[in-house]
Each structure stands twice: as structure tokens, then as C-alpha cells.
Symmetry: none
Subunit: 205 residues, 2 copies
Amino acid sequence: MQDEGFLVKSAVSGEEGLALIKKEKIDLVLLDINLPGINGLEVCNRIKISEHIPVIILSCRDEDSDVISGLEIGAEDYIRKPFNHKELTLRVKKLLIRSGREEQSSIKTGKLLIKTDREEVYFNSREVKLTPMEYKLLEVLGNKVDWVMSWQVLLRKVWGYEDWEGGREIIKVNIRRLRKKIEPDPSQPVYLLTERGRGYKLAQL
Amino acid sequence: MQDEGFLVKSAVSGEEGLALIKKEKIDLVLLDINLPGINGLEVCNRIKISEHIPVIILSCRDEDSDVISGLEIGAEDYIRKPFNHKELTLRVKKLLIRSGREEQSSIKTGKLLIKTDREEVYFNSREVKLTPMEYKLLEVLGNKVDWVMSWQVLLRKVWGYEDWEGGREIIKVNIRRLRKKIEPDPSQPVYLLTERGRGYKLAQL
DNA sequence: CAATCCTGTGACAGTTCGGTAACAATTGTA
DNA sequence: TACAATTGTTACCGAACTGTCACAGGATTG
């Protein structure tokens, strides 16, 4: 990779890798599934929770289920070992280009516009200032527009908590705060809808 | 697994597990290799002798020989510890679908459409809002369209109660509530039919 | 034909769930 | 240090959900 002109940092364990990502500005992660310490898929999961970095998974297990769970967890691509050089650099370049452009990718529903690259939100073409948590919650919901997400899912995707009874509360309150900012009438939500007993969704208008 | 909507029974030893299988209607077994009492592989063997239940083996020994003997003995799949929970549920779902015990993603009869992945119900292409319990009851019935289900079965599949005399009441009432929402004329049911003395069924039209 | 069982029906009440506001803890900043 | 913004915590209310009950009427059985 260095021969190809990439600037490479490496880590020998999941923990070390995650620390590296926190510290440095990383454009893309090549991730081995078989790791000492944390499982590779778990590492991928954690990266996706906190960052917007594309991940390519490397693995020698070539069962389909691994591809699926790798991609479901949010990995952008998957390469089986043994792979050849050329294929790897090709996929990396493709992803870097895509993420360079995709960073302008935005989510739109009704008069609501979410620019995911800049983490900015607009309503009626006017910017709405959201706090980090509010933004993250909205983005997670926006990533699957019109899909109901339970509080367990939101808790995991937004806060990274796995199970936690108190989570219903913090979601309630943060939904409330979001509504105050992006709903024309927060008491009659049009965008952030409640599905009683199931969860919340961002409506596709 | 319970969060994912599965109904889970657990046992702490091979003997207990085998007894459970004899007593309950089990769709799939997650089996740990390292067990007190009988060896896990032996348990798998005995299950396969007497039943047709898919078995997934869990193990922290990741030697190949274990995979082989696990699969040779008739286990349908094998997961190494530590596994991530998405991978596990994916494999479980895959197996349940393959063995015909898992619901399809969409059920249709007459003008009634049930989207099981989104937990949404449509009548005449218009969405009908159901409460969680109502939905679950309908889904269970839709899962085996045109099959009469006794109140005991419904009680187990919808509420998870095993035996309970009072159950007839809550089913009566919930059937009533469902009919009010999805029947054109609730007093003359066309979809949710009563088989007196046997139970209820969702008619295939 | 009467007694009994099963189901349909409406009303009621306890519980859960989501909306709301105010407060407390934490963090960042001047 | 003081102040402000952010974020989690708690309490309370009202509405929705869901189980219980009583009763009626039709079917079944002896």
C-alpha cells in the first residue's frame, strides 16, 4: 500500500486500532476479522458507531454469513484472503473516491435536509443548529428513512450502549429536543413519528 | 435473542436440555459443547436420533476437529465463541427459514396484506394501525394461513404463557379487537374465522 | 327441552408508554 | 472562577394498551 502512495498506520489488535482511529485522522480502515482481543466484527461495529470511516473487511473465512454480517454491521466492502494486490488497491481507491463524493451525500425528506458530511441540518433551506447528540440521533433515523427503530436499536446505534433499562428515558428526552428544533409544531410531529410500543421513525414525505 | 422476538427456553445441562426438548415444541437448539454431564456432541447426537430439530453448536474450542465432528454428527451449523450477536441471529434465522419454521416476509390473503419485516398491516392498500399484541396475534395466525390454531397454541406463541386457564378470555377479546380493525363487518368475519371448539384461523381467500 | 359449553360483546380498571418540564451533572469557555 | 451549553435524570400527567369481568345468545349434548 505504501508503494502505491498511501500513508499507512497499522495496529496489531482491535483495541490498538480503535485508539489509533481516535487519535489520527484516518480515511479508510482495512480490518482483519481474526484479531487478538476484540472480535473484528465488533471493532467494525464500534468504528461505525463513532465515526464515518469506510471499512474493508479482510478474512479467510469465506462463508456467506460472514460477508453478510460484515456488511450488515456497516462495512463498505469485504475481501477474502488470499487476495491479490491489485484487487485490494482497486477496491481501496474506489472506496476513497466514493467516500470523497459521498460525503456530500445528503438525506432529504419534506423540507428537511441533512448534510451528513458536514453534519448540518436544514429546514426550509435555513440551517438548524443541532447539538452532537441530537444530530447523531437524527442521522441514525435518517439512514433508514421510514423505518421504525426501537429504543434498543437507537440506544445501540446512537449511544453505543448494549442493554440498559434507563435508555428509554434518554431517548424520550432527546426525541423531544429534536422535535422542538425541526418540527413546525412539536406537539403534532410530521417528521419524527412515534409508533407506540415499537419505536420512532423519520417519515419520508 | 429475546429482543429479536424469539421465544427462548434454556437448560443448564445436557440432561435438562434433552428433557426440555421432549416436553416442549422446540424449533431450534443452540448447543454448547462444554457441558456438565453429557458431552455436547453426545447431546447433539441424541437430538438427531429422536427429532428433526436443527442444531447450532457453540464452542470456544476452535480446532477444526471439533467443527468436523460437530457437523458430522448432524449439527446444521457451528459458531465459535466469542461470536457477535448479529452473526448468531442471522444464522439462526437462516436455519429457521430453511427448515420451514420461520415466517416469510409478507403474507397476503384477500385484501389483507401483512408485511412482517416492518410489522405493518394493510387492508385494501391502506395501512391499518394495530397495537403490538393485535399485530402479534395476527402474525401468528398468518404464519400458517388457513390452519386452525387452538387457544393453547395461540397463548404459547403470542403471549409465551404455557398453560393457563384464563387464557381463553384474553384471546376472545383480542380476536374481537382484531376483527374490529381488519374485518369489513366484524359481526360477519371473513378473514378471522372461528372454528367452534377448535380455535381460530386466518382464512386464505 | 333443559343444562351446559363456547363465543361474542361491551364496559371497566390497572398498567404501561410516551410527552413534557424542571432539575442536576458534566463539560467547555471566557 | 463564573457562566453557558450540552446531556442525563427524575417526576408527573394523560392517553393508549391490555387483561378481567359480566352477561347474552347460539350451539351442543344428554
